[in-house]
């Protein structure tokens, strides 16, 4: 039975307008789905529903706007359908672009911030350990729970804005201590120190995690306590694509897993061994093509950090690309990169910087002849269906070298056992 506060009931009864009542109805129904007995206050929200997928999502946003929707907590926005800073790059149906832009505008009118990024954890303000928030966008959910230690359940489009409007979320799932414990261990075995220090490992390990964990919280044993946020980002995004992972512990690295016992709550849980051979097979599963001339390179899914843009600039200066190279990033990161001179370096090497959206969301890349190489398991997972290209995965350095060679060049020696 759901115990609502007086304010929850007033919202439900329409005292704060039709949009707030609709938002509260969604929360009450979803509390039932999750088995919550009450709602909890949230400190911020991240909205995925601003991205246009068809008329239905736009009609939902129009319904909220007509009901005077306003967000009640600080709310960031995920990517949208249009690169508002570079709209001329769009190559699809103008009517879709117009509807996509309208949907973005509607969320701004509700009081959301124009962050337009799938990596809100790279913004200056981000939630802290133990804070309750409502985040949608699968990769951001995993990063928020796992790396920041803030608490969000696996939210989808529509409940995100419902939580933002009401400032409430069902107290269930990963908002609760007991649901955050690992029920599965992935133990890295026989990985060389070179592989552990290779960018190529992290998206592939995330892919294995998604396959093995499904919906479960797992703990990974064997990662370095200094594993960078960029590498964890790649891991989290991959696990939320091949699986329904919403949280993972990296023992010795993430805040709720100082030890394996802390991650599991001292419970005995099943263990899976992850070997170089398993990882290499997972890497091969992500590729849909490796032969012939390379068509393009797309990196920055989730959105590139300043460190990643800086490294890409240095790589393309060393290895001038022969094929189109795209990098997706957030407008806030772009502004920092401009100040640091990184944008100029990328532009002079011909790299196309995409903001506010992503290269696999809408028609943006020109006619491409040959597979597209990426450093993202998430991009490799979705792009073949979304934009109809073959994909091949490698590290950021592999991508830059391949762009310069015009064919796939990968350092295969990193996958050798210890």
């Amino acid at each position: 039975m759901l115990d609502l506060s007086a304010r929850d009931r007033a919202l439900l009864d329409g005292a704060h307008g039709d949009a707030a009542a609709l938002a509260m109805r969604i929360l009450v129904d979803m509390a039932g789905v999750a088995g919550a007995d009450r709602l909890v206050d949230i400190t911020s929200a991240h909205i995925d529903g601003c991205l246009y997928h068809g008329i239905a999502g736009l009609e939902f946003a129009e319904r909220l706007a007509a009901g005077d929707a306003r967000v009640g907590v600080p709310t960031s926005l995920n990517v949208g359908y249009v690169d508002l800073l570079h709209p001329e790059r769009y190559r699809g149906d103008p009517a879709d672009a117009e509807r996509g832009r309208r949907q973005m505008d509607l969320y701004l009118e509700m009081g959301c911030r124009p962050t337009w990024t799938c990596a809100p954890y790279q913004l200056a303000e981000r939630p802290s350990l133990g804070e309750h928030v409502a985040w949608a966008e699968s990769n951001a959910i995993v990063f928020c729970n796992s790396v920041l230690g803030a608490r969000t359940d696996r939210y989808g489009d529509f409940i995100d804005i419902a939580a933002a409007i009401t400032g409430r979320a069902p107290l269930a799932g990963l908002h609760r201590d007991e649901e955050r414990r690992a029920s599965l261990v992935l133990r890295l075995e026989g990985l060389s120190s070179r592989l552990l220090d290779a960018d190529a490992l992290y998206p592939v390990l995330g892919h294995v995690l998604g396959r093995e964990a499904g919906t479960a919280v797992a703990a990974i044993v064997g990662l370095s306590p200094t594993t960078s946020e960029d590498r964890l980002k790649a891991l989290c995004a991959a696990a939320a694509s091949s699986g329904a992972v919403a949280m993972v512990h990296a023992v010795g690295r993430t805040p709720e897993a100082p030890t394996l016992a802390a991650a599991t709550g001292d419970a005995a849980v099943p263990e899976i061994s992850v070997t170089p051979a398993r990882l290499r097979a997972a890497r091969d599963e992500l590729d849909t093509s490796t032969g012939g001339a390379l068509g393009a390179v797309s990196v920055g899914t989730p959105h590139a950090s300043l460190a990643e843009l800086t490294r890409l600039a240095s790589l393309v200066a060393q290895h001038p690309p022969k094929v189109p190279v795209f990098v997706n990033t957030a407008r806030d990161v772009l502004a920092e990169a401009e100040r640091a001179g990184v944008v100029r370096a990328l532009a002079s090497a011909g790299v196309e910087i995409v903001t506010d959206t992503c290269t696999y969301l809408m028609p943006l890349m020109p006619e491409i002849d040959g597979p597209v190489m990426t450093d993202s398991a998430k991009w490799a997972w979705y792009a073949p269906a979304n934009v109809g290209v073959d994909v091949v995965i490698g590290s950021l350095e592999d991508c830059a070298r391949s762009a310069a060679a015009g064919r796939v060049v990968r350092d295969e020696t990193v996958w050798m056992p210890q």
Partner: protein, 139 residues
Amino acid sequence: MTEPRALVAGQARGRVLVLEEPLSFWGGIDPATGEVIDVRHPQRGAIVTGRVLVMPAGRGSSSSSSVLLEAVRAGTAPAAIVLGEADPILALGAIVARELYGVALPVVVSDPAGLSDAAEVEVRATAGATEIVAAEDPG
């Protein structure tokens, strides 16, 4: 085996389509056609429209609720969804479909092992009792 549980109430009838692996609706189903488009899914090319879609669990994107809603609007959605493990994101799409379009698409948690591919079944899901039974008048 635990009793079937309704995540979203409703009644529907259709032929069962058992997916062998989880599917992310976003990037996995084209809402314009109802076709499975995930290139790594073993049932790529299957049409979910009007089927009682059975899958072990949800997967992937937060936008799957939007794709389910769009499929309902476009008339390409499954008749019902039966999940081995609860998936809040698909339930959410069905809840908003009821709010926006008045469509009751039942979403049920139930052991998929009891359901055979292509069988004609009726799903009757209410908060009190949920059952999936062979349709009395096939076709």
